[in-house]
Every structure is written in C-alpha cells, then in structure tokens.
C-alpha cells in the first residue's frame, strides 16, 4: 500500500463511520429517512445545498473545463450564485406547502398541487431518468480519482464497486442524515484542498496569479474570456439562465429544501451560499495553471488536468489527501442521489401500485431499492462510453422542464391545469431528447437567424415549446370544462321537469 492509498482509504472509512453515526438517537421512520424530520438548522441545510455544488463534476469537470476551454467555464460560478438569489423567493413557499401537506419528495409536490397521482408518476420518471446519469458521473469520477491518485495500485473498476457499496450501506442505514453528516467531512477537506491548490499552483509555477494569466494570454490570446463565436457571450448568458432555472429542479436538491427547520434557515443560506460559491474560483485557478504545465490533454482527458498536475508536483501523501477529498466529492452527492431516487421509486411509483402500503412498508421498499439503483449506475459506469457529460447536460435539460409547471402552481389560484402541466413537461422532455440525440443546434434549426441567436443554448427552445404547450393545453381544458358546465346547465331543467 503506497502513501497515497492510505489517505484515500482513510476518507472511505471516515465516510462510512460518519454515515453510520448519523443515525444515532433517531427513530428511522420514513420522514426521518427522507427529509430528516424537517429538523435541520442553517448549517446542515447549508451543507446539503452546497453539497450539490461540490461534486466530482465541479472538482474534475470545473478544472478540466477551465483547462480545456477557458473563459466559458465561468458560467459555473454565475449560475449557482443566481440560483441562490432565486432560492430566497422560490423555496419558502415550497417548504411551507410541503410541511403543511407532509410531503417527502418532489413528485409529492406536483401530485398535491395538481391533485393528480398520474402527474406524480410522470415527474418521478423524469427525475429518475435524470438522476441515473448524474450518479454514473459521480462513480466514474470516483474511479478516475482512485486510479490516478493511488498511482494505479487500484484500478477504477474495483474502486467503483467499493465506493458504491460504501454509499449504499450508509444510505440504507441513515438516509438523508448520512448524506448531511458526511457532507461535513467532505466540505472541510475539499475546501482545504481546493484553496491550497488554487493558490499554490499559480505561485509555484508562475510566481503569481497575474503572471499566470499573462503567460496564458501570451500563448493563447483571449482564452481566459469568452470567445467571439461558439461559446460566446450569448451562449454564456442563455446557459446561465437555463441552469439557474434547473438548479432546484433536481429531485435531490428539491428534497433538501424539505429538511429545513423553518423558512428563515432557507433565506439565511441565500446570503452565505454565494460567497461559498467562490471556492470554485480556486478550482479554476488550478485548471488554468495546468494549461502550460501538463499540456496536450484532449477530449475527456481534460478532466484529469488537476490530478495530473498534482501527481507531477507533490509527494504521494499529499496526492493521497487530495484524492481523499476527491473521493468524498463523489460519495456524498452519490448518497444524496441514491436517497432521492429510492424515495421517488418507493413513495411515488410503488405506493401508486400498492395503495394499502403504509409509511413503514414504503420505507422498507425504499431501502431495498437503494442497492438496485446503485447497481444500475455501476452497470452504466463500467459499460463506459464518453457520453457521460452529454448525458448529464441532457439530465439538466430534463429537470429544467419541470420549472414552468412548478412555478406557475405556486399562486393560490393558478390557471394551469393538470393536463397543461403534464403536456408541457412531456413536450419539453421530448424536445430535449430529440435535440440531444440528433445534435441539433438553433443554427441547424433556423439557418437564417443572425449568428448571435444561433449561439443561444438550445435548451431555450425546449423550454419555449414546454411553455407554449402548457398554455395551450391549460386553456383548452379550461374551455372544455366551461363548455361541459354550460351543457349540464342547459340540459338540467328538462330533467327536473320530468
């Protein structure tokens, strides 16, 4: 066992220990397992919500994006910041409604608001389909980190199995509490690792931040800002907007709202989360530092930039600590996704089929589903393919389609009907799938439009289709209902006469 592996093994044992300890003193009913009895104060809600940002996607993908494409990576900084601003206004009404109605999952919200279990099934399916690639991404990142940071001593396949087994074990025992507690360790380690790397690399290799950016500007002019074409300012702005809307639509992000003790906790976090977001800045610095130091990484290999540079720079034990932080960034979000997917399945699919099921049975089913979800994700992870990021972006576009039906349901007298909500979601998701599978862009759809419009994120089109269909079907069902009422009224008197 080399020095690096000790650190990584330590992280895994720490996660397992904290995950099991999280259960202590709690009766694990369904409400405890899924939403921690709605008891969390600001710090734990903060960590759960921040936990969704600092995943392997940001750790490996954020640095890799800065390394491979430069300025466009800044969009990650912006979307989460604006999502937190939005959270101040959007989340309290959701939380209040969830508490008053005893809701456990995102689908429960749609079921209750639109009085339609069928809509709940639709939302659950969209959620589960979007969550699986997100989980695959975490497992894949885990395999990469263990393989590189462990200097090849453990191949990525056994690493994926071990990591998945650990997350499955503590999720089955502690549910969302396990995820929250392991978040504490994860965020402490990732904070230290990222800030250290983001400061050390520019200083060590260039003598400072300014010198580093100047050196990059000399070799690749304009690389650290947005390009004139392709991922331009138009792409940037539309992508940020879309991801802001999708941010809280992930089932696990939505469920973390329910864990809050009160709405004040949620509003207070909207103040601090934007600052926390700045830690990503150091991830970018590390990625930028790698450009001139470990050049030549292409395609999906850009995600290795941070670890390649670490291995080149440090002793194995330091690499081990960075690897340990990286392993936790995969395990913690992975465990939240497992909890959310299992809850959706048991609470919103199984319960519909078996109406006699009480909370205790639903919880048993949820726990049994956890290893199954993990196995499906492992299957896709090991099957490989380079389409993971494509799948994740598709997942993001999927969940964003839930946004119009959710927001428009918030006013007390909403004009959106359940048919409108369902049709909008189906149309939006179908558009996303069609666009993703055929690699359509706005440019290929409408070749005559000006170049700026063509660079808009194509997800805008799906959202527009969604909203148009939602309005059309809502209006249609309202009109049909009104006509039925009139027919009933007209035909009523004769029957009374008889």
């Amino acid at each position: 066992m080399n020095g690096a592996l000790i650190g990584i093994a330590g992280a895994v044992i720490l996660a397992l220990g904290l995950g099991f300890l999280a259960r202590r003193g709690q009766q694990m009913g369904l409400e405890q397992w899924t939403v921690a009895g709605r008891s969390f104060g600001a710090p734990l809600v903060f960590l759960l919500m921040a936990g969704e940002i600092y995943t392997t996607f940001t750790f490996l993908g954020g640095s890799g994006f800065a390394y491979g494409r430069g300025g466009p990576a800044y969009y990650i900084l912006c979307y989460a910041t604006l999502a937190y601003v939005m959270s101040y206004f959007l989340l309290p009404p959701i939380w209040r409604y969830a508490r008053d109605n005893g809701l456990y999952s995102q689908s429960d919200f749609f079921i209750r608001k639109y009085d339609s279990p069928a809509l709940g099934i639709l939302v659950s399916l969209v959620g589960i389909v979007a969550l699986i690639p997100y989980l695959v991404l975490q497992f894949k990142g885990l395999g990469i980190i263990v393989e590189i940071a462990g200097y090849g001593a453990i191949a990525s396949t056994p690493a994926v199995w071990i990591g998945a087994a650990v997350a499955t074990a503590y999720v089955m025992v502690s549910g969302v509490r396990g995820a929250a507690w392991t978040s504490v360790a994860k965020d402490a380690m990732i904070l230290l690792a990222v800030v250290f790397l983001g400061i050390y690399f520019p200083l060590h290799y260039y003598g400072g931040l300014g010198a580093m950016f100047a050196a990059i500007e000399e070799v690749k002019p304009g690389f650290t800002v947005l390009p004139a074409h392709g991922e331009s300012v138009w792409w940037f702005s539309s992508t940020v907007l879309l991801t802001v809307l999708g941010f809280y639509m992930w089932p696990h992000a939505f469920a973390s709202i329910y864990t809050a003790r009160n709405t004040r906790v949620i509003r207070l976090n909207a103040v601090f989360l934007p600052i926390y977001q700045l830690i990503l800045l150091f991830v970018f610095f590390a990625g930028f530092a790698a450009i001139l130091q470990v050049p030549g990484l292409k395609g999906t290999d850009v995600d290795l930039a941070l670890f390649k540079l670490s291995v080149k720079t440090f002793d194995p034990w330091v690499v081990g600590l960075i690897g340990a932080a990286g392993v936790l960034t995969a395990l913690v979000p992975g465990s939240m996704i497992l909890t959310a997917a299992a809850t959706l399945f048991a609470n919103n699919l199984y319960r519909v089929a078996d109406r006699s099921a009480d909370d205790a049975r639903v919880l048993r089913i949820a726990k049994l589903v956890v290893p199954l979800v993990a196995l499906v994700a492992i299957y896709f992870t090991l099957r490989g393919g380079q389409t993971i990021v494509a799948l994740l972006l598709m997942g993001y576009s999927f969940v964003t389609q839930l946004f119009p039906a959710l927001v428009l349901s918030l006013p007390r007298n909403s004009w959106v009907t359940r048919e409108g909500a369902a049709a909008g979601i189906v149309a939006g998701v179908a558009t996303v799938a069609a666009v993703s599978l055929t690699h359509t862009t706005i440019g290929t759809l409408f070749p005559s439009l000006p170049a700026e419009i063509k660079e808009l994120n194509v997800g805008i089109v799906a959202l527009a289709v969604n909203i148009v269909v939602l309005i059309a079907f809502s209006a249609g069902t309202k009109l049909a209902a009104a006509r039925n009422r009139r027919v009933v009224r007209v035909s009523a008197p004769p029957s009374r006469l008889a």
């Binding site: 910041t81 937190y84 601003v85 931040l209 650290t224 800002v225 004040r264 207070l268 909207a270």
Partner: protein, 65 residues
C-alpha cells in the same frame, strides 16, 4: 420594507447582461482577467445585497415560519 426585495434583480443584470459589456482580458484586476474580476466582484456584491434584503425583509422576523 418588502420593496427592498427588488434589489435582488441587480445580480441578474450584472451576471446575465453585464458580460456583454465587460468581456475583455485587460485591465487585470488582482491578477485576474477583467471579465473574471467583474464576475467575482458581483458574487461578493450579491452576498452583500442578500444580506441587506435578509436584514430588512419583515418575513424573517417570524421564527416559527
């Protein structure tokens, strides 16, 4: 003081519309390209704005909600 909530529009303007006007490398600010420095400054300002809103918004007086 609920009107203070309107301040929350500023971060959206700065981060969604701002880049159209500040997408440039120079001048460097604290060693960062100008675009990046603009975004970082506005993330800090966003936190400050949200703190002001949180402080003045009457919704946060009621502990039970």
């Amino acid at each position: 003081m609920r009107s203070v909530r309107a301040l929350a529009l500023l971060p959206f303007l700065a981060l969604l519309v701002g880049p159209f006007f500040v997408n440039r490398v120079t001048p460097y600010v604290f060693g960062m390209p100008f675009l990046l420095a603009w975004l970082v400054a506005w993330i800090l300002l966003t936190a400050a704005i949200m703190a002001v809103i949180f402080r003045l918004d009457p919704a946060n007086r009621d502990e039970s909600e």
